[in-house]
Structure formats: C-alpha cells, structure tokens
C-alpha cells in the first residue's frame, strides 16, 4: 500500500470563490427534531472517539523494549528506538517487566498524557488472524470480527454500538472524514462530515424544499439525503457566522492551538460537534499513510509528530468534558520486526493500541508482552498477539458506554480476563 500525503493548504483553495450567501433556514417544511438526549454525563456514556491509523502503524517503532538484544539486532537506528543520543527514546514508567521501555522521540505529547495518567497503552494487541492484507484486516476490525468468512456482515462495530444505545440526538454517530468507514457501515444514525467549513447548501429556501421533496420519494438516497438535510437545517443554525454570513472558523478552547494538519481538521470537526450538544456519542477518524515500506526514518517521525500534537490539542480542547470522553487509537497490524533493505518495514502482526480518557486507568501498559525472541514471534517474523483488539474495545464499552451490548457489538467474541483499563 502506498499513500500520497494530502496538501495541507488545499482546503483553503476550496473556499467558495463567491462571498457565500448563506441560506436562511426555518420555513419551507423543515422538520424540527426533538432533543430528548440527556447530557452525556447523566446518561453514563462517554463520547467515544476512534482513531484508525491506516496502513499499519509500526508499533515497534513507537513503543519498544530498547535494551532487548533481539530488538537491537533486528533494526538499525533510526528505525529502532535508542537509549542514548540526541534522538533517544522517551523513558516511561510502568512498562512491561524486564525491559527499558521507550516511546518514539517525537511522542513527547503522548508521554505527557501517559505520565499524567490519562493514556493507557496495550502492546502486542490486534486482530488474531493470519492476514497481512491491509484491506482484509481493516475490514475485519471495523466489522468487529476476526474471520474472513464473516466479512459479508453488513454492519460495522460502531453501527451496532449505536444501535444498542438509547438516545435520540440529531447526530449520534459521526465520521469526521468525507466517507463512512466500514466501522459505521449501514448505520442509519451516523453521517460523514469532514469539516464544518462550507457546511451549507447553496440554494435558497425554495430549492431546499424542492430537495427535500425529491428525497421524500423513497429510494436508496432518501434516508441519507434527508439526514443530511436535517443536519444542514439544525447544525447550520448553531454554527458561528463571520461578517459576510459564511461559516466562521472553529475557535478551540482558550490556549489550545491545533497544528496545521489534515488530522487536526478531523479532530476539530469532532470537537466542534461534541460541544454543540447534539447528542454525539461516537466519532470515527482516519489518519492514513502509516504504510512505511520505505523511508521509515523520516516518515515515522512526521507521522508520530502529527499524531501526538493534534491529539494533545484535541484532548486539551475537550478538557471541560474529559471525564466523559474516551479515545481509542488502533491500526490494522504492526510491522515486521526486522527491517527490509529499503529503509522500511513490511506488514507484520501484533501492534500497539492506545486508550485515552479521563475515565481510563492511564499511565500503565496493559496485557502481556510476548517477547521478541524468534520462537516467540508470529510466523517467526512478527510480534505475536496476546490481546485481542476486541478485549480492549469491549472493556471500554462495558465501563464507559452504559447500555452497550458488547455481545452484539462483537458477535462470537468471548471476552477474556479484564485487563483493568477502566
């Protein structure tokens, strides 16, 4: 897999050239929606944010036992986290027994969240299936399954989670991306909104009414079209406007600055909607380009930097509601222990998973570390998996999302002994 990075300034080019004549909504048969959603605090449910690192994040390049001779033998720095020097790894407490555990040198914001007790790490975690295909592995994890034979399942795990939760808010589920991820496949309660900039229909009231009528005639676009029209009507009212009536840029909490990055844009969309009190319960974010077959040294530095800083900003932005916010970060698989001869690593198996939130027992590493000796590796090549990814997700749901039916969210999965994350 490969990935071209997205131009960060492109969005600004997309601003509508016209002075946007923002529509005034309200008349014309727009249906009002009832807001009977309790506040998240009273409901016993967090806002659950899932961040999927697409392409296979190199967990062994992000958190590693730097003094393990097997680790040292398999890779040269800078593909290996090192103990000494200008770019030495960041020491952490409460790592797995027996080794000096270090985070990637650019993970300072993550180290801070960990040290503060908000961030938990689970290594050697993932999808217990032999696949090393990005697309197969992502499809299975997003459907909450572990076997190819169940790939026909027409719903994602977040779809089933939303279906098992009460709540009648306007927007229970969000994909902060242009498209719906497979985790929200088939959801009638979620919408994909990449950015709230330009979140408006350019037509007037009559045209809006016409659109509504055209989408009221049934057909496969009816549900999605009407959901989008309802969102336009309600969300647009709540969006701050600038001088010429267009949507004003999002202003985060005082003192918070998001770095310029596509990932920041997704996080800002989630933060803005979370603060809007429209019943948001689940938000899915993608962060791509982790498939570092080549050039891993500089690419992973950028990837980690642009994961850690925006995430830190997001968490600070939602500080007022951090006791009811849980963020999970996952990837489809880890990467090969031994690096290839083109400065990268190929598809591996076990990986690192993170959980961040005010209700999380952070500052610790959870699960079992299987070791990196050849006979401990999966297929004698890759980090083994000791914790099923659904164990982590299930524990989070059980404790933080009251009412979630874990057995329905992860059909066929039998949870093991709790890790103690929450």
């Amino acid at each position: 897999m490969n990935a071209t990075s997205t131009s960060l300034t492109r969005r600004s080019l997309l601003r509508r050239a016209l002075g946007a004549s923002c529509l005034t909504l309200g008349g014309g048969g727009i249906q009002r929606l009832a807001f009977s959603e309790d506040s998240a605090a009273a409901s016993g449910r967090d806002l659950l944010v899932t961040i999927f690192l697409r392409g296979g994040c190199d967990g062994l390049g992000v958190l590693a036992p730097v003094d393990d001779p097997h680790y040292r033998a398999a890779r040269q720095a800078p593909l290996r986290i090192v103990e000494k020097g200008e770019r030495s790894g960041l020491a952490i407490k409460n790592g797995y027994a027996g080794h000096d555990w270090r985070l990637h040198a650019d993970a300072v914001p993550l180290q801070e969240l960990y040290t503060h007790g908000d961030l938990a790490m689970i290594h050697a975690c993932g999808l217990k299936n032999g696949t090393r295909s990005h697309f197969d592995a992502q499809d299975m994890m997003e459907r909450g399954i572990s076997e190819q034979k169940n790939l026909g399942l027409g719903t994602g795990w977040l779809t089933r989670l939303l279906d098992s939760l009460p709540g009648t808010g306007l927007l229970p589920g969000l994909s902060a991306d242009g498209a719906m991820p497979a985790s929200l496949l088939g959801s009638s309660r979620a919408a994909a909104i990449a950015t709230l900039q330009d979140f408006s229909y350019y037509g007037d009231d009559r045209q809006m009414k016409a659109l509504r009528l055209m989408h009221a005639q049934g057909g496969e676009l009816a549900a999605g079209g009407n959901r989008m029209l309802n969102l336009l009507a309600e969300v647009t009212k709540k969006l701050p406007k600038n001088g010429d009536g267009g949507v004003a840029s999002y202003v985060p909490a005082k003192g918070v600055t998001y770095p310029e990055h596509e990932f920041s844009n997704s996080l800002k969309t989630v933060a803005q909607l979370a603060k809007m009190e429209i019943g948001l319960q689940v938000a899915a974010i993608n962060y791509g380009d982790w498939d570092t077959h080549t050039g891993q040294d500089y690419r992973l530095n950028d990837l980690v930097t642009n994961l850690a800083k925006p995430l830190h900003a997001f968490y600070a932005d939602l500080a007022a509601q951090k006791q009811r916010t849980t963020i999970v970060i996952m990837s489809e698989f880890g990467r090969r222990l031994k690096s290839n001869e083109s400065g990268g690593t190929d598809h591996g198996h076990g990986n690192l998973m993170w959980v961040l939130g005010g209700g999380i027992q952070g500052g610790r590493c959870f699960g079992q570390w299987p070791g990196l000796a050849n006979d401990k590796l999966d297929e004698h090549a890759d980090l083994a998996i000791t914790t099923d990814y659904r164990q982590v997700l299930g524990e989070v749901l059980q404790a933080r999302m009251r009412g979630a039916e874990v057995a329905k969210v992860f059909p066929g999965f039998t949870p093991g002994v709790p890790l103690g994350l929450v």
Partner: protein, 351 residues
C-alpha cells in the same frame, strides 16, 4: 507501479514486499484467494502438491518479493558502486540488487542464479495465468461497468473469455465485448451510481455547456470523494455506491451545479439554458417538462413538480400553466436554478 509500490528500492535482502503483495492481492488472484489465515506452509495449500495451488499465502508473497529484487528505474540515482544511472524514467534491472537463490512461488520451483528479469517475469506469468486471476479481473470489470453486484452468469462468461483469450493481444478488449454485448448488460437496471467526474460530465453534456477545465474542478471532485490520480491506496476508489453517497459527498454534489450557475470558479463553464429551451415552451410547465425529459428522461415526480415550478417562476403561487415571463437573463438564471435541482435529484445520480 515500481515507484508506487516501492519496487524501485527493493533489493536483497530482506526484499521490500509491497509490490509483490499487492500484485497478488489487488492486481491478480485477489484477496479472496489469500489463504494465510488457513495455511502457513506452501505445501498445505489445496492443490499445491499437484502444482496447482488454489490460492496464495505469505510464503508466496515473500518469495515473489525476492524474485523482483533488482527491478528498478533509470532515475538518475547514484548507486553504491558510484555508477550514475541514466535519468530516463525507463525500467531497468540492477542485477547487483537481485536475490539470486532458488525460490518457490505458487508451488513452482525457480532455479538459483537466474537473472532478475527472468525471475520476475516468471512470477508475472504464474499469477496472470492463475484461474483465480481470470475470475477476479472479470468480476472487477463487471462490477465497474454493469452493477455493484454483477450477475453471476455474466461474470462466468467474462471469466471464460479471459481464460480463452489469454494469449490474444486484445485479451481485455475481448472480455469487454462479452460484457458489453451480453444480454445481462442490456437488461441491467441503471443502478451504477455516477462517480463525481461522471456526474459533472453528464451535467455539462446535458446542459450543452462550454467547459474550460481548471484545477478548481479537480478540487471540487475531491470534495465529492473522487481523488483523481491521487487516491491514497492502491485499491483505487471503492466501486460500490455506498462510498459515493456518504454525507458531505452528497452535499457537494447538490452544490456543484449551483456553483457552476454562479460562476464560482470564474470562467470554467458557461451555459445556454434559455437558448437551448425550445421557443414553443412558453409556460413554466412546458419548460420544466423539457428539462426534466432532458436530464431524467422522464417527467419529474408529481410530488416535487409544484415546488420546481415555484423555483422556475420565483413565485410561490405559480401554476403549471402560468406564463414563463421575464427578461432573458432572468429567465436563464431561473432555468439554471431549476436544472441544478433536477441534477441534484436522486434520479440523475445513476449511470
């Protein structure tokens, strides 16, 4: 692909597996024939001991990756030995990077010390001729051109043709003929959701617009989900409708004709709505009928007819029979608004 999937840097050893993996998974046998969750040794794959493995596993990927080591590009780089490559962009083989030892791919043995070109070409022949490849490619073509869920009979016919025409110089053209001339194609309902480029092109065509494309259009297609030439993964865009119908992609689709009407990207398209409307269409109802037929091939549904007439006349009391009056510029813009809505209707979204 050598650049895109990192072959350009792949050398012994360990090889870079990116190209070899996607060659199997995306370009030939397909992920449904990736059996690594069932088997970890080549000889355990059904059919392997007869030289006809039903699918592939990671061992095949590893071995194929070795076979391709040394396949690279004349990109002007300086190699370890100090020699500078020409900078032509052409394919080249760097024998010094090749892993020359014996290999086994899809249960077929490769002797040691064979040149890089031969090793790689053997892999390509093996995967190209594998029966799973015929089926995978035939199905992809049927999905692309006929339906998200193509009829099994058609896929089977296309698969047969792919195999029969394997050595023909126009193999794919022959397969396409089978697909496009088949009864299944002709009788298939129009269920393929237009991609943004198709949506834009069909809108410009049906409105007879003069079009001068610029990058603004590419950015707009991007906002509608189609990242021309820069889709981030080697899968290509999803070829089923769910993707194109999500949230803001739909919103951008509704807005696009309005942006064009308002000339939001100066000078990209100019329209001639009034000129194209026949002179005998003197009432709003006749104008709406003309444009409905033109975009949708049918009258607009009765339920939305009244409001479309209101848009056309900018009068909430409009009746179907009312005169379509006003100065030319005004009428032209009102037709544009109405046609923009017809283009946003569900019926216009299908190919």
């Amino acid at each position: 692909m050598i650049y895109y999937l990192d072959g350009v840097e792949s050398r012994a050893s360990p090889a870079n597996e990116n190209f070899a993996r996607e060659l199997f998974e995306l370009h030939t046998l397909g992920v449904r024939n990736y059996l690594n969750h069932l088997h970890t040794k080549w000889r355990d794959v059904p059919g392997a001991l007869e030289g006809k493995p039903a699918g592939y596993i990671d061992q095949d990927v590893y071995e194929a990756a070795r076979a391709f080591t040394g396949w690279t590009v004349e990109n002007g780089n300086e190699d370890d030995d100090g020699a500078k490559r020409p900078n032509t962009g052409k394919f080249m083989v760097r024998e010094a990077w090749h892993d020359p030892y014996q290999k086994r791919v899809l249960a077929t043995e490769f002797d040691s010390q064979r040149p890089a070109l031969e090793d790689g070409m053997r892999v390509i022949d093996l995967v190209a001729r594998h029966p799973a490849t015929a089926r995978h490619i035939a199905e992809k073509l049927c999905r692309r051109f006929v339906s998200d869920t193509p009829p099994e009979a058609l896929v089977a016919k296309a698969t047969t043709e792919f195999t029969a025409a394997f050595d023909a110089p126009d193999q794919i053209a022959r397969v396409m003929k089978v697909i496009l001339l088949g009864a299944e194609y002709r009788s298939a309902p129009a269920t393929k959701f237009k991609r943004p480029l198709e949506f834009l092109a069909s809108y410009l065509r049906v409105t007879g617009a003069d079009f001068a494309p610029r990058m603004d259009v590419v950015y707009q297609l991007d906002e509608m989900g189609q990242r021309l030439f820069r889709w981030p993964t080697p899968t290509g865009h999803p070829d089923t409708k769910d993707y194109w119908q999500s949230g803001t992609f739909l919103l951008r689709r509704w807005n696009l004709p309005l942006n064009l009407r308002d000339d939001s990207w100066k000078g990209i398209a100019s329209f001639h709505f009034l000129t194209l409307t026949p002179a005998q269409c003197t009432t709003a109802g006749q104008v709406l009928s003309f444009w409905s037929q033109r975009l949708l091939g049918q009258e607009v549904a009765e339920k939305s007819r009244a409001v479309l007439l209101q848009v056309l006349t900018e009068d909430d009391d409009a009746k179907a029979a009312s005169d379509f009056s006003g100065d030319d510029k005004d009428r032209d813009i009102r037709i544009a608004s109405c046609v923009a809505l017809l283009a946003a209707s569900p019926e216009f979204q299908y190919r």
